[in-house]
Amino acid sequence: MAQTRRDFLKKTAALSAASYVGVHLPFDGTALAGTEEGITWHPGTCRLCGSGCRLELGVKKGEPVGLRGIPGARTNFGYLCMKGMLFWKCMRHPDRLTTPLYREKKTDPFRKISWDQALDIAAARFADAVRQHGNDSVAYYGSGQALTEETYLFQKIMRGGLQTNNVEGNPRLCMASAVGGYLTSFGADEPIGGYADMEKATCFFIIGSNTAEAHPVLFRRIMRRKLDNPEVKVINADPRLSQTSRIADKHLQFRPGTDLALLNGMANVIMEEKLYDQNFLSTYATFRQGKEKKEVSLDDYRKFVAGYTPEKVAGICGGNITADDIRQVARWFATATGTVSLWTMGINQRKRGVWANNLIHNLHILTGQLLKEGADSLSLTGQPNACGGVREGGGLCHILPGHRLVKKEKLRNQVEDAWGIPRGRIPPKPGYHTMAMFSAVNDGRIKAIWINCTSPAQSLPNCDHYNKGLAREDVFIVCTDIFPTRTTEYANLVLPTAFHFEKTGVYGCTERRSQLTRKAIDPPGDARPEVWIVREWAARLADRMKDPVISQCIKPFSGLDASYDLPRAIWTEYTQKVTKGRDNDLRGATYEVLARMADGVQWPALDEKYALTGGTTKKFVKGKDPLATIHSQNDLPYQFYGPAHPDRKLWVWLRPQADPEEMPDAGYPFYLSTGRIIDHWHTMSMTGRVPELLRANPYAYVEINPRDARRLGISPGDMVEVRSRRGVNLLPAKVYEGPVEGMVFVYWHDQEESRMINKVTKDAFDPGSKEPEFKICAATVRRVSGPRPLKPFLVRG
């Protein structure tokens, strides 16, 4: 590259950065015109977390050459993290799956086959399973990374075509407790507000989330808010000190599993010190208790939280927490002009994850820290389309698209009518939830399973137990993915898919926001978009099973071009017919509108004109949410029309402290917790293939508190055995003032057998949300040797 061009490019880079902070540079962009000659920029959404950052992929001669943020996007204002900046390197990676692979027996090597053969085999095996073992012997297990169009079409074929509700997805492992929390506290799933509240908040309560590493661009917004307004309070509650704690005014380091007590302790202070909003409570809230959701009084609630005095709670929580700390943070929370709470898996992945969610919502309802600008109870999503695709698009066993419960006949009929299939076609019984689904694989009740864009062989808790089922020769497994994974090792049929920007579709992020990414480059080899794969598979199923209803399911999509027209038709059916009249009404968010928006549309958005404003920033608020006006029953400004609360009120729950399923004891004296590191994501099948990210963190390690390390004679880098009742890992030690004493923490990305921490974690799950308690189990920790050279590992084809 000529020096002059290089200088120009550097100026382009500088101008880009300067424009974000409004800094003037002594040169402008006009002289730089032509610098990027030959590069076309294609807008889309980042692939690598639930923040939903908007960016543009630079393409030159059909190849990706760069990335830049979109400054006008209200999700990220143009900022990206390093992981997001590099995800495009997966696109041309030599490990990409590029042709269908098949083997009759799982012990055989794969052989390459044609798409025709692959689709015939998939159709034959699913049809045979249904014929011989019944409709519920087949299953689909999807992903919060699949596009909405993909999840929607898969579940349509499974429910309407194959007549089973065995439709699940990995968001069960991360978001299900948040769904349960929103439904039971607010009467409707998904947050009331969104990211825009961050710039108005004067208090942040971050619990069970290492936002700085898991959602770095959102963390930047919080940090900027704090720096610009030093009086803004940041409370971080977590058993582990993390990068997030850097900006905290107060870090509450509690013992794992005592979070419910802590939250009730804060409520105690709010009640005792009369920091609650009496007017808000009497107008908009009721108090509930128990399975039967019995309504109780404010006094009953007061008595309930009276048992959680700050002194008592400080004793339960242990760590560094004092009674005065609890008083202090409760006051900050209640008296701020706006408080935003943020959490992720630390709260959701608990045996009582729904309760933990309820108790956060309680604090907001009690203090009226909701519905106004700068206040929200905001569960952060881990995956880019867990909300849009799986929660809204019908990707879980008990819900149909448009937030409809499977068990309600009227709602099933609405979907059947929209699809033009006979009423009664969708079975009334919900399918297997994730842990039940893989138990059914284990004992052979499921005979054919389609696993799309996820790797349960590594991501299920207690994975060795479930991998026995995946290894069964009488369970036929199809995997659609871009790279080989621990799960493709168990597959009979591996189908190569197009990656992000190699196909078209919508992602819906944390804040009810749907965003379009259009195809910008061709996929490698013979990789295909999932929507094409499902349509072609369904056509063969219809033939084999001589079932015109299956044909009807794909009829609207027949013959359409898979790179744009097909996903557009699927999105159109979903939004115009299926979300119509639902709380996630997306009729205004057509492809045409989404293509015009820098950052997509927040639902509800009933028509295009409204959608072009960006949609609804605050649910339930008249004047801001069109449905609040439509469903209004009185003069009050807030209207809680959510389907789950017939009294149209917010519910404050009486939920006691509940210990984790497995507590440390003499045999297994440590708490084990797991989580993310900034460079890697999930099972590392993508980030592990970006050399820059892999080299930064080539393998997992175990974080140990220095006092525990001293006691156990462990030095940094020593090899340490982490063992539970289920399995064992051998990991290098990082001795670090991060985890609270008595707790160890392990990153969960590593694919290497001896460092796959889900062999060790526990598969207990929340009885309401069915989400497993990944975050806590009991383990032993033992030094095995000094440092050993380790190699990073990825599954190859």
Binding site: A14, A18, M85
Partner: protein
């Protein structure tokens, strides 16, 4: 030879110390800063690997709170002739 635009953020009180610390990074050019603690900089490294390492090092400076990336141009990386393996300088770790 990738080029990136970044906004580095520090507490306003730490701005001077941070600018001094950044002066020590050869592959980083500071273009501007403001009273809010924003520093506009360009990273120009020999490879994306070096870029990642540099971002990591910058993140490690005690007074720096975040490094926000806004722009990346890596077209040189694909202009190198070669097979798919060498396109981006990618090779799977097991061959490294």
């Amino acid at each position: 030879m990738p080029i990136a635009g970044v906004v580095i953020t520090t507490r306003p009180d730490d701005l001077e110390a941070t600018l001094q610390a950044l002066a020590g990074f050869k592959a980083l050019e500071v273009h501007a800063s403001d009273a809010e603690g924003n520093i506009v900089a360009v990273l120009d490294t020999g490879s994306l690997d070096a870029m990642e390492g540099l971002v990591r090092e910058i993140n490690g400076v005690r007074t720096i709170l975040s490094v926000g990336l806004t722009y990346l141009n890596a077209e040189d990386e694909i202009e190198r002739p070669g097979s798919g393996e060498r396109l981006f300088g990618l090779r799977s770790h097991q061959e490294q």
